[in-house]
């Protein structure tokens, strides 16, 4: 039986793979589709299904998801299953490195991007919200927003350029904050180090 598996939101998969390598956790990483976020009710059953699939193969399973709009139902499921989740309501809070609430207080109309969202902006935002088909919907969604804050994991000029394009698509000014993995790394480390079951 292997030691540990991470079941991760697809939007965090790249970063979790990088952290897994950096800290030599030797975990297997299983992703779930990002589009589940469009219907958060589907997240807990999808996580449950994945847990059921791999439970017999691993001593420990860690869920790398925020609450992500499941209104606590993901945590209730994990409590029943005896499986731990990395702390945090959503990936923006994790990446913002403690500044999420301040940013929202400063400007409630803040739209966040991460490396993942910058890379899939056209698919998730423009197509996902139907703006590509009906450009007039952009203002229905975004007229109350005042800025885009890009919480950048990597320092990559091409991603920064694409973030600028994304902000221009929304007609909003862009702020770039180089946050790296933010609180995600520390929380995962703590989860693994503090738990006798998970200590590697």
């Amino acid at each position: 039986m292997k030691d540990i598996a991470f079941i991760v939101c697809g939007a965090l998969a790249r970063e979790v793979l990088a952290l897994n390598k950096k800290h030599n956790w030797g975990a297997d990483v299983f992703g779930l589709p990002v589009l589940l976020h469009n219907e958060p009710d589907r997240i807990p059953p999808a996580v449950q299904e994945r847990i059921d699939q791999i439970r017999g193969e691993y001593k420990n399973i860690v869920i790398v998801y925020g609450d992500c709009g499941t209104s606590g139902s993901l945590d209730r499921l994990l409590a029943q299953e005896g499986v731990q989740r990395v702390a945090g309501p959503h990936c923006y809070e994790m990446y913002a490195n403690g500044s999420f609430e301040g940013l929202m207080e400063e400007q409630p109309g803040t739209f966040f991007l991460t490396d993942y969202l910058v890379g899939s902006f056209d698919h998730l935002v423009l197509e996902g919200l139907g703006i590509d088909q009906n450009p007039q919907l952009r203002d229905d969604y975004f007229s109350n927003y005042t800025r885009v804050v890009y919480l950048a994991q990597r320092e990559d000029p091409s991603l920064q350029q694409r973030a600028k394009w994304a902000a221009d698509c929304l007609g909003l000014p862009l702020e770039i904050r180089q946050t790296g993995y933010g609180l995600l790394e520390g929380r995962l480390l703590k989860l693994i180090n503090d738990s006798p079951q998970l200590s590697l």
């Binding site: 219907e39 309501p89 929202m104 207080e105 409630p108 139907g130 703006i131 009906n134 229905d140 109350n144």
Partner: protein
């Protein structure tokens, strides 16, 4: 395609069906043309609203709930309904159409999301409510002022974020402190909410979408007024 149809040649029931189809497809210009045609046939603004726009939006609401339609399609339908409402609203006021109650509604402080709240506003207006929409980022003072001024039957609050939904409790506590909580129904909605949260903050009901909001408002108001359901 409805632009190929000569609507003047359609029977009124067919035209009402066409309005519903065009609303479903988010075709605002076509909806406006049919509304004008029905009014030209001396149908009352109230009937055009209820038998055309509201009936059409109800189908949109059901199909959204059943996962057949998604947010973009609902928004396009709402835009088409709004276009029709622009024509009907002054006529409804002019003809003194009966209003079944007053709703004050807003997105709570710290939150700028208003798509759902605006949809609820429009559906409630369509259902015969006088709607006072306070917009986004509404603080407790703004809610209290509006309640004082408009004496609503219902207060509606919306929030899209887990960080802002708790502000609803602040507003309800303020209503309790002022001794006016029992004078109105409090309905709450928004993506992160559920029935348990509504109960916890002592709201009267959680409404998962606009159609449920209208149904709940009508039902609870009728109960409060001692009318049969």
């Amino acid at each position: 395609m409805s632009e190929e149809i000569d609507i003047t040649k359609l029977e009124t029931p067919e035209l009402l069906e066409l309005i519903q189809d065009d609303l479903y497809d988010g075709l605002a210009d076509e909806v406006v043309a049919s509304v004008n045609e029905l009014l030209a046939r001396d149908m009352t603004p109230s009937d055009v609203l209820n038998k055309g726009l509201v009936a059409g939006m109800e189908i949109v609401g059901f199909d959204f709930r059943d996962g057949i339609l998604f947010v973009p399609e609902v928004l396009m339908a709402a835009k088409a309904m709004k276009a029709g409402m622009e024509i009907l609203r002054p006529l409804l006021i002019e003809t003194g159409a009966t209003q079944i109650g007053t709703l004050v509604i807003g997105t709570v402080k710290g939150d700028i999301h208003d798509i759902g709240k605006n949809l609820v506003s429009m559906m409630m207006e369509g259902a015969g409510f006088n709607v006072i929409n306070l917009g986004i980022n509404t603080d407790v003072d703004a809610f209290l002022e509006a309640i004082e001024e408009h004496k609503p039957d219902i207060l509606g609050m919306s929030a899209m974020l887990t960080t802002t939904m708790t502000y609803m409790a602040v507003v309800i506590e303020a209503l309790e402190e002022k001794g006016i909580r029992d004078q109105l129904l409090v309905l709450v909605g928004g993506a992160p909410l559920n029935d348990a949260f509504a109960e916890e903050i002592r709201a009267d009901a959680y409404c998962r979408d606009a159609a449920v909001g209208v149904e709940t408002a009508k039902k609870l108001l009728a109960i409060r007024r001692g009318q049969p359901g």
